[in-house]
Each structure stands twice: as structure tokens, then as C-alpha cells.
Subunit: 153 residues, 2 copies
Amino acid sequence: MNLSEQKKALIERIGIMQEKAGIQPVAGRIVGLLYVSDRPELTFDEIRETLCISKSATSNALNLLQQLNRLDYITFSGDRKRYFRLKLSRWRDLITKEIDSITDFANTLQEVVAERTKDTPEYNQSISDLADFLKYLHVELPKLLQRWEESRK
Amino acid sequence: MNLSEQKKALIERIGIMQEKAGIQPVAGRIVGLLYVSDRPELTFDEIRETLCISKSATSNALNLLQQLNRLDYITFSGDRKRYFRLKLSRWRDLITKEIDSITDFANTLQEVVAERTKDTPEYNQSISDLADFLKYLHVELPKLLQRWEESRK
DNA sequence: ATTCTAGTTCTGTAAATTTTGAACCAAAAG
DNA sequence: CTTTTGGTTCAAAATTTACAGAACTAGAAT
């Protein structure tokens, strides 16, 4: 696949952003590629060739991204290839998952306060406040998402 | 410093959560320790001894956490030691920073759409939607923080 | 002036992660 | 049945990261 220099640069930038979000470099670039590619569905080999990576790296990354719910594939009868694509329409789910991990942290903070000495009331209060706000977020973010959906009808 | 088993376990759990947020194991444990420690300000050596880590690891991690604005230290005249503590009261700033990096991603997505072929209007729209929602978040999250502050007066 | 203290920096290495290449496998095609 | 295609799996190589240990430094204490 021949990509403009701008697109190649975008792939790398997106790749790095994805890396910072905790996924491996190759997987990050695959995400980037699928964002900029004219065709939103690419085959295993198109991905592998375009990014100049090995089959195993491609296979691993694609499977990882599928586990993370970032990717799926479609097929066409009479064609054995899989056509991989971003599950862009499911970004709401990913955000929901993020929100849940926020709550995990809030719960841990509440355990911390329960274990802490009572001799540091201000400090304990700061921790409680943070936990409290995170829980507030957990409740309010889905509402925000809903309001955004409505605002654009 | 002698810590209960519960506190030790909490330190490890917090450590892992911090790791998942992209910081190194030792730094994550330091954060955990400062959360659970009876005294919220600990010296370099207290941290090093309690966590059984080397001076260099301690120094590096403390400097990293200071760069990330997670930590600072106070001093007392007549005492050469630094007393390191979490910048807990500044968690609002950290959240603001998170929001900014969300915006970075939104901007990149808008660049992606600008570079994309116009032959995939639905796909382009999905990307625009995501960018749009992220920008909406950027505007609304600070308001949420504000409303939370008010709700607890 | 010498020694101590509190912490930093540098070098090496152990460990973890990522990636490759080659062998392999199952289903489809010939 | 044999070959080809599309992809997976495994072992090893390469890269990256985290950490330890020792040497070092600046300022304070003696």
C-alpha cells in the first residue's frame, strides 16, 4: 500500500499515543494504519506488508487488539482472507471500561482510609475526597455521554 | 518502618495500579507507601529501607514522581533531610492534565479525517464523532469538577 | 580542614517485553 | 490426494526497562 508521508507520520504519532496507553508498538501502528487507510478494512498481509513487520508480530498484535475489543474482522464468501477493521463504533464501551477502572482505584482509596491512622484527619480527608470525586465521575460520565448523544440529534 | 500485612498488601496493589498508569514499579510502590504510611511525609532513607530498594532506584523514582507533579518535599531548618509527600491536594491538576492529553488525541483524530479519502463518509463520520465527544469531554469535565466541589460545601 | 550526611549519577546487568524467522496447521483449491 | 493460502505457534534474538552497587558531590557538622 502506498501512503503519503503525512499519513505515515500520522500512523507513527497515533502509534506512540497508543503505546502510552499501554499497548505494544506494533499494535499501536496497526491502529494508526486502520485510522488513515483509505479502505477501513485491511487483510493480514496488507497490514504486514505496509508496516514491514513479521507474520508473528502481526498475528500477535491483531489478536491482542481483538481481546481488547479494539478490532474485529469481516469475511466475504469465496474469499478466505479476514478483513480487519477498527471497532470504532464501540468506543463508548471502551470509555465505560475506563470509567470502571477509575472506580477500582476509588475503592482501593477507601480501603486505604479504613486502614489509616485516625491521627491525620486532614490527610485522610484528602484521600476520601479524591475517592469521592472518582465515584462521582463514575456516575456522571455516563450521563455526560448520554447528553452528548442527545445534543447531536 | 513496620507495617501491617494489610498495609503491605495495599502498597503492592496501589503499586500495580500506578504501573498500569505507566509509571515504574518502584515509583508505584512509593506512591502506595505514602498513601498508607501513618506519617504522610517520609525521608529518603525511610522510603528506601521500608521498600528494600537501592538508593539509586529511590532517587530516580522520587525525581520521576516530582516531574510528574505527584510528589514534593518539605524541609525543616536544622534538619538536612527532605520529607517527601504526595501532592494529594493537587489531584485536580493531574486530572486537568489527563483531560489535555485527551484533547491531543482528539486533535490528531481531526487531522486524520482531514487526510482521509472522502469516499468513506460513514467511517470518517465515526472518527469525527469520537473526536467531537473527546472535545466535549474537555469542556464538560472541568464543569463536573466544579459541580462536585459545590455539591459538597 | 576533615568527616558525615543526604542524595545523585554512572555503569553494568538482570529481567521483561517485543519482534523475528521458521516450523507448523487447517481449510480450501486444484 | 497434493498444493496453496491464511494464519498460528514456538524458540530464539533483539530491544527496552528497571534496578543495584559503587563512586561521587555539595553542603553541614565537627
